[in-house]
Structures are given as C-alpha cells and as structure tokens.
C-alpha cells in the first residue's frame, strides 16, 4: 500500500476519529449560539461513552446505549444550564466544574464495565466496490457519523430557517433585544445547552460503541474540550463544523498512519497538529478591534 496506505489511513481516521468531534462540536455550536460556552462537554463525552457502553452491555442493544448516552448528556447539560443561569456564575468555571464532576461520575460508575465487552454498533459498509480489505475497512461507516452529518444540515436549516432557530440566535446575539421580543433568555439557553449536551453524549456513544469501541478511562483524548476551539475554527456554522471535524479527525490519524508504514518521526507532534492549527487560525483571524465574524454577540459577556 505504501503512500496510498497513509492516505487511506488518514481518510478513514478522518471519518472515524472525526465523528466524536462532529457530534460534540455541533452540540457546542448550538450551546454557543445561545451565548454561553460549555467546557463541560468533555465530561459529557465521557459520561455518554460510559452510559452507552453500560446500557448496551446490560440490555444487549447498542441502540439503547445511544439513547442512554443522549440522556446522560442531557442531565449533565441541565445541571450546567441551571448553574449558569444564576447571577455571577462564570460559564467557563462552571464548565470546568462539570468536566471534573462528569468525568468523576463516568469513571466511578464505569469501573465495573471496563472488563466486559458490550455489543457494538453495526458499521455501514460502503466499500463493497473495492477488493482491497483496507479500503473496505476504512469505508465501514459509523451510523452515528451519518446521524452527525444529517444533524449538521438540520442545525444549519434550524438556525437559518426556523422561528426557534432565530430565537436561539437572538438570545445569543443580544439577550436584551431577545427579552424585548418576549423571548425567555434562561429558558432558551436551557434548551440549547441540554440539547447540545445530548448531542455530545451521543458523540461519546460513538467512542465506546464503534471506535475505538471499548470503555476505558482514557477513551477521550480531549475531544470535548477541543470542540470549543473547533466551533471557533468553524465560525459557529454547523456545516463548517462537519468539515472542521473531518480535518481534526484526519490530522489525528496522520501520526499513526505514518507509523504504520514505518515513519515514526514526529509521531507525538502530529497529535498536536489540530491544536496548533486552531491556534494559528485564531492568531490570524482574531483582532482586538472587532469580534470574530459569526461570533454570537453575547458570548463571553457576563449576562
């Protein structure tokens, strides 16, 4: 395979490794559109992965696991939303608290599920046209990836073409104006954060039920935290979140793919490439004179 092996490895890594990025970043995008940041999605991701695995193991159905992951995410999201609706509670600090609490709960309740193996989500084979096993394996797509892609376009339509989407954007851009229109700011934010966290939980289900496909405490490599950067990278646009997730997933796969063909120089540095990329993009596009194009106006404000 040689050079092509690297390309196939990176592409399949983009889809497999990009799926949690995609779902978590869509959740974060929805949250941030309402004007608040949720750094706790890392905890949501872990809790989602754990609940999905545990429920799939107990019931024998991976789909029950996916639903459980969404529920677990929604519960953590509700705690976050209620906490930051209080005056003087910083959303970033609350996110870090939720990160600690969520990962603590995931590790605590997940302890008995590290050993047993749960039923996995079935892959959708799109590589039947090829005889090369690597390509067939690479094109075995997670159903949650399809769900994520659909959600990206649904959210795009939701923000641009629906009344509720307009309300979420209004709350995120100018809470005062939204209040004047008779929109309840706390309620809108509550729903945005809860639904966003549910999406993040489903992202966790992909981790434990498809790829890597087991529950361990090291299952997430910071995708939940990265989602915040990814949304900035994607300029708060759900469809751009899709491309950015594929890019981040692919970048993470470069190191292992190169190692598979015997090139191991810079293995660990490649792991950092998404972070460096995001930092560079922010460095070149941010300015002290104006806010980022597409950024919700109330983001980072204390109201």
């Amino acid at each position: 395979m040689g050079g092509w092996g690297v390309v196939v490895g990176v592409l399949s890594g983009a889809v497999r490794g990009g799926t949690p990025f995609l779902l978590v970043s869509l959740g974060e995008c929805l949250t941030e559109k309402s004007g608040k940041i949720n750094l706790g999605l890392e905890g949501v991701l872990l809790m989602g992965a754990m609940s999905a695995y545990a429920c799939a193991y107990k019931t024998g159905s991976p789909w029950v696991g996916v639903v459980a992951a969404a529920l677990a995410g929604a519960i953590l999201g509700a705690i976050h939303a209620l906490l930051i609706s209080r005056p003087r509670v910083n959303d970033i600090a609350a996110g870090i608290a939720m990160l600690i609490f969520g990962s603590g709960c995931a590790f605590y309740f997940g302890k008995p599920f590290i050993q047993p193996s749960a039923p996995q989500l079935p892959g959708i084979p799109l590589g039947g046209w090829s005889d090369v096993p690597q390509i067939q394996a690479a094109l075995k797509i997670s159903p949650l990836f399809i769900f994520g892609v659909a959600m990206a376009f649904v959210l795009q339509w939701f923000f641009r073409g629906t009344r509720w989407g307009m309300q979420v954007r209004a709350v995120g851009d100018s809470p005062a104006a939204a209040r004047a229109l008779g929109i309840s700011v706390p309620r809108t934010r509550f729903f945005a954060i809860v639904l966003g966290s549910a999406l993040g939980g489903i992202g966790g289900a992909h981790l434990s039920l498809f790829y890597p496909g087991a529950w361990t405490e090291a299952i997430s490599s910071g995708q939940g935290l990265m989602a915040v950067a990814l949304v900035i990278f994607a300029r708060w646009n759900p469809v751009h979140c899709l491309w950015a997730s594929l890019l981040f997933g692919g970048a993470q796969a470069v190191g292992p793919s190169l190692q598979a063909v015997g090139i191991s120089t810079g293995y660990y540095l490649w792991n950092a490439s998404p972070y460096v990329l995001t930092l560079l993009v922010m460095l070149f596009t941010c300015s002290t004179k104006r806010t980022l194009a597409g950024a919700p106006g109330a983001l980072g404000a204390s109201s």
């Binding site: 209080r86 605590y108 950067a229 810079g266 540095l269 995001t278 941010c286 980072g300």
Partner: protein, 369 residues
C-alpha cells in the same frame, strides 16, 4: 466644607444617624460564611452520594480526615500534594484579577518541568544549590513564557485567553511526549519513556527530618508574594483596575498590554515552579507523570479561594488532603479512586453556585434599611 467629622459620618451612613451603630463586620462575615457553608453543603451532598452507594457516610468522612489530617505522617503526605496545587492555582488566580480566565496551568507546569529537567541535566555536576537554582529559574522562565504567549495573544490579537491556554496545554503535553520519546529519552526507561534522571544527590531535599520537601516552602512563599503583590502594591492595584474596567484603565494611561503580559508571565512562572518541584523533588526526571492533573486541580483551588493568595494556601492544603485520601477509600471502602473526582466536582459546583448568593441575605448588609 466646614462640617464636623460627626456630620460626615451621619451623611455617609443613615444607620448611624438613626442611632444604630454601623455593622462593618457583617460584609466581611459574608465572605467567610458563604464559602464555608458551601463546603458544608458539598460535604452533605457527598455524604448522600456515599449513603446511596451503600457506604456509611460518617465512616467515609472519618477515613478521609484520618488519611489527610489524622497524624503527622498523614499530614506530611497532604502537604506534599498541596505544594504543587498552591503553585498551579496561582496560574489561574493571577490572570483572574485582570479579568482573564486562564486554564493553561497543566501546560505551564509541563513546560516548567521540561525546562527545569533540561537545565538541571546541563549543570548536573555543579553544587546542589546551583543545580536547584538553575532548575527553578529555568522552570519559572519556561512556564512563564508559555503563559506569556496567552497574554500576548490576548492583548495583541484579541485571541480568547481560555481557548488559547487550553490549546497550549495539549501542545505542551505533545512536546513533552515528543521529547521524552525522542531527543531526551533515557534508553534504559522502557515501560515509561523518560528523560535522563537528575542525580539523586542533586534533588530538592526534604525540610528537616520530615518527609515534606522544600516545594512546600516555594508554594507558601509564592502565595504570600502573590497576596502582597496583588493586594498591597501599585502593580496589583493597576492589575485590579484593568480587571475592573479595562477601558477606564486605558483612559487612565495604564500600559494595559504590558501589565497583562507580565501578570500572565508571573502566573506561568508559578505553575512552572510547580513543574520544577515535581521533577526535582518527586519524579527526578521528566515523563508523562508530570501531567498528572495538578494543573486542572489548581483551577479548582483558584476558584474556590476566589483568586486570593492567602486562601489558596488553605484551600490547596484541604484539597491536598482530599487527594491524599484516595488510597484509603479504595482499600477500606472498596470505593473506586474516581470517588475523589466526584467529590471535587461536587465541591466546585456548590462553590460556584454559592457565588450567586452574595448580597442575597440582608443580614450581611452593613446597615439595615
């Protein structure tokens, strides 16, 4: 104005005019009662959690207390864990006074540890104090420059400081992995790739006959210095002014960017010193154990202590005790080690919630209306 002092007081406080003495201690009391009350509520919630999990909550509390503060031996263990927490907490607490939420503690700790290791290995044949001095300086500069990047990005380019510092954490850990697996690797470290070790006789010694190393001294000194710097110097006043109203600070002619970057440098230097302490007193070499979560726990300490130097010493000691009791919960109660994480999360959540209660109770007002 030719009014008497009494008249001034009367104008300032209607309560005094009405014949009741003003109650200046009540607002101060609020700052003690609310955090202490929050910790008690968090303890109660954790007790409930233990009860639901079928453990005797009081026995668990007793075990935590015994493992953390029960004996001089246990307390030494607590202090060893508290030392890096004091230092990493400052990495969040100092920029918080500027109004910035910096969470790059872990990255600055790792960069400080790396810089200290490289510098220490370079001068390892020098006398002990020279080695330690060079390591401390390198660690502080390494960590300081790392977070100065965050300050520079924020003030020069408007890059969000929280996201930038978070990204730098991951970049620092990747650099650490790259260096200890490549250029710095000691070929004899097989299972856990590590740098070459600092010679044992050049490590940071323990204080007197205790098990506590001098890192605790660094931690307490740094917190005291930060307290004096922020509360009692013009530098600290300027920093707090920027945090209070950045536009007013600019109009007053303060060099906002410079002050901000210096504060971020000091913040990183504190976390870098924590990295140096971890290398020079605990691990003896740089490896992945550096990124053991002291950075993220430091964020918790800073927020609970409301970003003030003196309370950080106390809160870091308490959290050090909680961290030290992880083992006993596992052995005596068969509770997984993540229990401590759940506990930390609960404390943090309740403390944040309690922030919204300031000013809600009439009792804490200086005067009643």
């Amino acid at each position: 104005m030719s009014s008497t002092p009494e008249a001034k007081v009367a104008v300032a406080t209607p309560a005094a005019a009405a014949g009741r003495p003003p109650l200046p201690w009540r607002p101060a009391l609020e700052g003690v009662v609310i955090p202490v009350g929050a910790v008690l509520v968090a303890l109660a919630l954790f007790g409930l959690f233990c009860f639901v999990q079928g453990r005797n909550a009081f026995a668990v509390f007793a075990a935590i207390n015994k493992a953390a503060f029960g004996s001089w031996y246990a307390f030494q263990n607590t202090l060893v864990r508290a030392a890096p927490l004091m230092l990493t907490a400052l990495a969040t607490a100092l920029p918080a006074r500027l109004g910035l939420v910096v969470i790059g503690n872990e990255g600055a700790l790792v960069m400080g540890g790396l810089a200290a290791t490289v510098a220490g290995l370079a001068v390892q044949t020098a006398p002990l104090l020279v080695v330690l001095g060079v390591m401390l300086a390198a660690g502080m500069i390494g960590g300081g420059l790392w977070l100065a990047i965050v300050g520079a990005l924020y003030y020069q380019r408007g890059v969000n400081e929280t996201i930038a510092s978070l990204l730098l954490n991951y970049i620092a850990i990747a650099l650490l992995n790259h260096l200890v697996n490549g250029p710095l690797r000691d070929p004899s470290s097989l299972n856990k790739p590590s740098s070459f070790p600092i010679p044992d006789e050049k490590m940071l010694p323990v204080i007197g006959s205790s098990n506590v190393h001098y890192g605790l001294f660094f931690g307490i000194a740094a917190c005291l210095l930060a307290w004096v710097l922020m509360e009692h110097t013009t530098f600290g006043f300027k920093v707090r002014m920027i945090g209070g109203n950045i536009r007013a600070a600019r109009l007053a002619g303060l060099p906002v960017a410079l002050l901000g970057i210096i504060t971020c440098f000091l913040a990183g230097a504190a976390a870098g010193a924590a990295g140096m302490v971890e290398v020079a007193a605990v691990h003896g070499r740089a490896n992945e154990s550096l990124a053991a979560g002291y950075g993220y726990a430091g964020i918790l300490v800073a927020f609970v202590a409301r970003h003030r130097g003196l309370p950080i010493i106390l809160v870091a000691t308490l959290l050090g005790g909680i961290l030290a009791s992880g083992g006993i919960l596992q052995r005596e109660f068969k509770l997984p080690d993540a229990t401590i994480l759940v506990f930390q999360g609960l404390v943090f959540l309740v403390i944040l919630f309690s922030d919204s209660l300031y000013g809600k109770f009439g009792f804490f007002k200086e005067e009643r209306r």
